[in-house]
Symmetry: C3
């Protein structure tokens, strides 16, 4: 079973397209991608991790994208490059060109007369574009999306479906936003007044750079006074929460279900695993990796790999250790006393 | 105060319907369900846990569904069965038959001419059904739902409202999807290229079996090459995230806010608590129970109950233990040295 | 760069409005708010934490809202009050009056003939109001919102966009609901029947008090038999999950991505951090504070501040401690034996 397959390419064309060196028949035609164990003739596969090497010998793919050091054990044509996973990404794009929809507005959409929508942009069924919004060339506004008042959507953006862009949000070029994402909802700003909460109007907006991708049901709050900022090339997975006045540095990737409180500053090229929690006002340096489900309660000033958490165990065993944690400090003190007495 | 109440049934009819043995007046009419302390005449209650037994003596319900071993302390008519909670579920269904809406398309919906919608299916206000989609008999497409291109929705499915089914997704029969759920958004697939991310097209789809239920704002990503698979009878609560190429085995139930990274395989009949995190490429056997907020960083090959985490304490006490954790390994080594010296 | 700025006020007017004592020129006009380092002439700033005191000396704001004890180091006009953060909230509201939209129904909305919508309420583009719903005076139903059958929306509520209110939900007055929120989806109620799940109909509703705010993509489930209850003044951030039959006490605030299982009772004036997990059937007293990412597995009967979790470390160091946790109980027993032998 293989996916996609819009066009056929020769291995020679594909090698050139993905930047690989071909060892094999440059005229052989391929049209789909598949994993090593499932690929059949006419399909290209890839080996991006030594972990899957055992599948190489028996593959029936027409060709395999792999690192040069594995080419001698490749039983079929080889597309050799140092980063085969990148080769896979490029091959997927080459074999599956995404159709560009002609511009226009669906009859069931509503576009304010005070909005500017480029002739090459598409506004899909049941979508809304409010007054003062600007939608640039080649933009795709999918079904049910809401583009709020004064929003700016840059060239080539793609709002897949049921996306909400609140008033005044700015998207750069080629930003992709997946269904259910909400950009620019009010931040969680409250002042206490004698046991009651007074709402703090959220007067900033959200500023999103070029080539950002935002996952399904992810939320990015507008700033309180200044803007929340997502720099170029940032990738947010599904169900990520970004609080007001956060700044996320260029080319940082954040996996699903991570929650980031307000006024957090994250550096460039960081990699943050799924389900991570980051407290408010934290600063994280460039090139920091944080493993999944970690909790960040203090700023991180040095690049590196960081983790927190305790292991999963059978519940019966875990419960004993769990209860001991409540007395860990006491246990350390008892050990200190013993050490003192034994010297 | 009691809920629902569409029809009246005699206790005899109800006993037969839920599979209970009646001790009492088979002609007594009941029409609603209520909890033990709140029920009044005309209402049925249930005792599903010994924890609530103290409410039994004073109940004013007309009848109580309970295990035979409690029937001797039941002051009113008793509907006896080994699994009273199942009896409650069946009684709720019997007393509250869900109306079936007549087929048709609301005037404000948009259904592509290239979609096939069965005459008995309902497409509600502001909904969208795109080209190539197929909507089977008895389906309910609620307000604001989007059924993408080529989607297949099986007989008797119910999309409550504002559900997004992305292109090519397949739903079996009687699948229920709650508002805000997004099925088939792109998985989080990225290849690195000199500090920038290159998107990997997500060419697979999502394949959902019969009798699955998917909670509000839950997200299930489409596969990269092959499909993400949710087998029959799986129940996902709200705000669950299921990454690309996961496979969730039949009759597994997953509580709210659980995050599952990509390519995770979960067995059949598992029970996974709320807020659990599961790392990518993990395999979990059949019949595994994982308690709430656990983190699964390694595969689980044996059925059983698993947990992780540390206890909640007053912050002052907790902070001391928290800091000790940073030196737990050192503490263990110090203990080892003491033991060595003391022998 | 400053935000908002709808009206100009004199410092005298502003002082009166926010309840501050003015030291300076009561006739000076201001029109915007900005942070201390960014404010320029015509703007008001505030000092709400000693942490930002270093920005005070160089500020170019026209006036600063601050506590009286800092007024002697304020180089510009001072608006003195004990709670400057509250002053900021009030000043933001005073300088940015929110326009009230005239009542009416957008031509692309659909309002059932069996719904009652007050003449002063606005129903926006692509919105849906179903039969039996009642929408009170001054309500704003934003684009793409769904107001289900029999829903009651109180005076002055604001549903920003793409909000889903399921059938029978009741909102008090001045409730704000942000995009993607789902109120009243089915709770996660399942009874087991020989390895399969039987759905328990969720027959209760959701009852929301006055002045509640509900964040983007937050979900509040309807009750199984009785209602889920959110009392007056509760503030829920984004992506919070509230299970069926929870009761959240008045003026409690809950930060983003917190997950609350079913039948949890939370007291009044609690503050619950982001990403917290609360197990089912827990009871939490009034005035409890829980820090971010804590897990609550037992009821809390006393007011106070509570936490759980372990620190973030460099992964290499963390892994050693992580593994030791599996033997923490054994370690404590070994220590006990040593202590016994050493006496």
């Amino acid at each position: 079973m293989a996916a996609g397959g819009g066009v056929k390419l020769s291995l020679g064309e594909l090698a050139e397209h993905i930047g690989a060196e071909l060892r094999g028949d440059g005229d052989r035609m391929v049209e789909r991608l598949a994993s090593l164990p499932r690929a059949v003739a006419g399909e290209v596969s890839f080996l991006s991790s030594a972990r899957y090497r055992m599948h190489l010998a028996a593959t029936r793919a027409s060709a395999v994208i792999l690192a040069p050091r594995f080419s001698h054990v490749c039983p079929v044509d080889a597309l050799m490059m140092e980063n085969p996973y990148l080769g896979y990404a490029r091959a997927a794009a080459a074999l599956n060109p995404q159709p560009q929809r002609a511009g226009g507005t669906h009859p069931t959409a509503w576009v304010s007369e005070e909005a500017r929508v480029h002739a090459s942009a598409w506004v899909g069924p049941q979508a809304v574009v409010e007054g003062g919004a600007s939608v640039a060339a080649g933009v795709f506004v999918g079904p049910g999306c809401t583009v709020g008042a004064g929003v700016s959507v840059g060239e080539g953006c793609r709002l897949v479906a049921n996306v909400t862009l609140c008033h005044g949000v700015r998207l750069g070029r080629r930003v992709q936003v997946h269904p259910g994402a909400v950009i620019g909802a009010d931040g969680f700003g409250l002042a206490e007044d004698q046991g009651r909460w007074v709402k703090i109007l959220q007067l900033g907006a959200v500023d999103i750079g070029d080539d950002v991708e935002i996952g399904a049901n992810t939320t990015v709050d507008r700033g309180a006074l200044e803007n929340t900022i997502i720099e170029c090339g940032v990738k947010l997975d599904n169900q990520v929460q970004v609080g007001h006045n956060c700044k996320i540095g260029a080319h940082t990737a954040i996996a699903g279900a991570t929650g980031i409180a307000g006024s957090v500053s994250i550096g460039k090229r960081c990699r943050i695993g799924g389900g991570v929690g980051i407290n408010g006002h934290i600063e994280i340096a460039d090139d920091v990796h944080i493993t999944g489900r970690s909790v960040v309660a203090q700023s991180i000033s040095q690049p590196g790999v960081y983790s927190s958490g305790v292991p999963l165990q059978e519940t019966r065993a875990w419960r004993r250790n769990y209860l001991r944690f409540c007395r860990l400090d006491e246990l350390a003190r008892r050990l200190g006393r013993l050490e003192k007495n034994s010297t």
